[in-house]
Symmetry: C2
């Protein structure tokens, strides 16, 4: 399909035989018949959550042609429901429907739904087809590319999962109109991240267009989403199984995960924690002599213009950060690996940060009052 809207665009994610297109345009959910070429067979299960389903499920299903065996499953919303029990509900629903290995799962919702449905697809009968219809900005620019699926374990976030690529991704920018502003800001944190790690001109574009993005200007949204997905796709193509350059995508995430874990999932949004984490990474990069003060202020300004918090939680000491950071998946042989900024638009993996410098930063960084 080629979306006919003037501001529509299609981006191809190149992964050899697992390559797939990302379609981006306003109004795509109501044109879901364009999904048909990507279905594995007649059996289709659309999985959504109880926030998103009332808004978009009917538009999606009624756009599908007759002749398909379409089932719907609505799960409870929320990061705290991103667990194995909910994935089991998907598997049980598939088996109760008698769905075979030629069925297709469609994830309609944010990152939680996308991650869970992708993981359910990866493991149902050892792997079935999967299509993403992400309805949050975070999911659109983050989960659309990379094939990461999975759930949280009581002892750690995203600890159980698989790499599993979708057949296609359908991004309807209109779906952002029902997104709470706080979640839009959280998604913008990831958009800013792509500029910071790899694309200084895009960072400059974001500094100019942040107001348009927050006003949901379709043209600005399509551009920002397309650029974000393209940057992520480039990185993933270079490093599909996350051995090297892909680690750069974790800019701000090591600090951010510490905040999320310490505060309990759901209190800070992921993007909010990443926003603050990126500023912490920029500040640490400054202390290592890479960024000058003015560059750190630019990072601060673009994060604040996206509506994101700039201070860490009041009740988190340096040791609280370090306790979580030491468990980070990127660490090798007990050495802390951080993503830092050599320049704006140029990130690096660094495992030589002196413990004292890091500790000092964690002590000094502003806290919420």
């Amino acid at each position: 399909m080629s979306p006919s809207s003037e501001v529509a665009t299609t981006l191809q994610v190149s992964l050899e035989e697992r390559s797939y297109p990302i379609h981006i345009a306003p109004g795509l959910i109501s044109r879901a018949d364009c999904l048909v070429p990507y279905l594995a067979g007649r059996q289709v299960m659309i999985v959504s959550d109880d926030n998103v389903a009332p808004l978009y499920l009917e538009a999606l299903t009624s756009a599908l042609p007759d002749g398909l065996d379409v089932r719907e499953l609505v799960l409870p919303a929320g990061e705290q429901r991103k667990n194995l029990a909910c994935v089991e509900r998907i598997w049980t629903a598939l088996l109760e429907a008698g769905f075979n290995r030629r069925c297709t799962l469609v994830a309609l919702g944010g990152g939680v739904i996308g991650d869970m449905v992708g993981f359910a697809a990866a493991c149902y009968q050892r792997g079935v087809a999967f299509i993403q219809v992400p309805t949050t900005l975070l999911a659109q620019v983050d989960s659309s590319v990379g094939g990461k699926t999975g759930v949280n374990h009581p002892l750690g976030k995203n600890m159980i999962g698989a790499f599993w690529q979708p057949r296609t991704v359908l991004i309807d920018t209109n779906s952002l109109s029902t997104l709470p502003p706080r979640e839009l800001s959280a998604g913008l944190a990831e958009v800013i991240k792509y500029g910071l790690i790899r694309d200084a001109p895009f960072l400059a574009w974001l500094e100019e267009h942040m107001t348009a993005l927050r006003a949901l200007d379709p043209q600005a949204l399509v551009h920002a989403i397309e650029r974000s997905c393209r940057l992520k796709a480039e990185i993933v193509a270079e490093d599909e199984t996350e051995q090297g350059v892909r680690a750069l995508l974790n800019l701000g995430h090591t600090f951010g995960h510490a905040i999320e874990t310490h505060q309990g999932y759901g209190s800070w949004l992921h993007g909010e924690a990443v926003g603050t984490g990126m500023l912490m990474a920029a500040e640490l990069s400054h202390r290592l002599g890479w960024l000058d003060d003015q560059q750190v202020r630019r990072v601060e300004a673009v994060i604040t213009s996206a509506g994101l918090p700039l201070a860490a939680p009041a009740d988190m000491g340096a040791d609280d950060f370090l306790a979580v950071m030491r468990l980070d998946k990127k660490n090798l042989d007990d050495r802390l690996r951080l993503i830092l900024l050599e320049q704006l638009g140029n990130a690096c993996v660094h495992d030589q940060t002196p413990g004292e410098t890091l500790h000092q930063l964690l002590d000094d960084f502003p806290r919420n009052t």
Copy 2:
């Protein structure tokens, strides 16, 4: 490593970047230091069950060199424990140990342990290294090749899982000395299957060496296991995604699955049901004019010499068979697909069996008295 025993052999399973060696020799568990080159890092978790652990766990762990962080986890034995709850116990143990994505899981046990540990490895932090040390003949000749991992769901056997290849497989033929004779026979059913579907000379070799195999002659065992793994590896390499020739591995399984399902899992061993199922397939092939009577008698003789049952359950009528067989995953468009024998050593997929011929066979086939 190159096992030094005279009867040792090593077989390479070729799957491009996921290729791995299968080492086969008596006494390998006590030479587990040969595993070291295949470890991803220092963190090693050996998972076994409460039948196998008392017999071999200490021999395996004490053969590992110092300097590794070796943990042990012993799960309850049995097919009815092949479920997600047991896999969650593995994940919890890994997280409690603080194991990262460079850890290695070692499966020490039969097919249930291998399938569960392989699946746990496939999904822990989206995939970690996995080594198999299969201790039953069935696991040695079946699970060593093909990468199938997974667990049962209350609504279906093996419905949840992943394809995940081991780094290496260590087959210690001495471990068969503690295997109950009934399970040895069940494993021999799968060995015979490889001869029947693809290798007439191997079938003839089995007819000659069945006594030696059942007496656990190391040389005979190493040969039979190596040949079985090689034949399966050839088939899997030709058809990694299970579209065509790989279906031949299901010789005897459609009939056998009907017996297992009707009798309740655990009453007949899988290999026992497959043994009887292969004889049913041979008899049906005879009625279709492919095998002559003498060839069917050869199949019967080799199955009986392995200590396997030759008659179907007394309480199963033709309709009981057909009720289960109609649900088989191989069927397309409601047409029954069976694996039959054009010749001894040459199987085929057949979906043109007249219903009457099949029904007559199911009526006539001997029942237990």
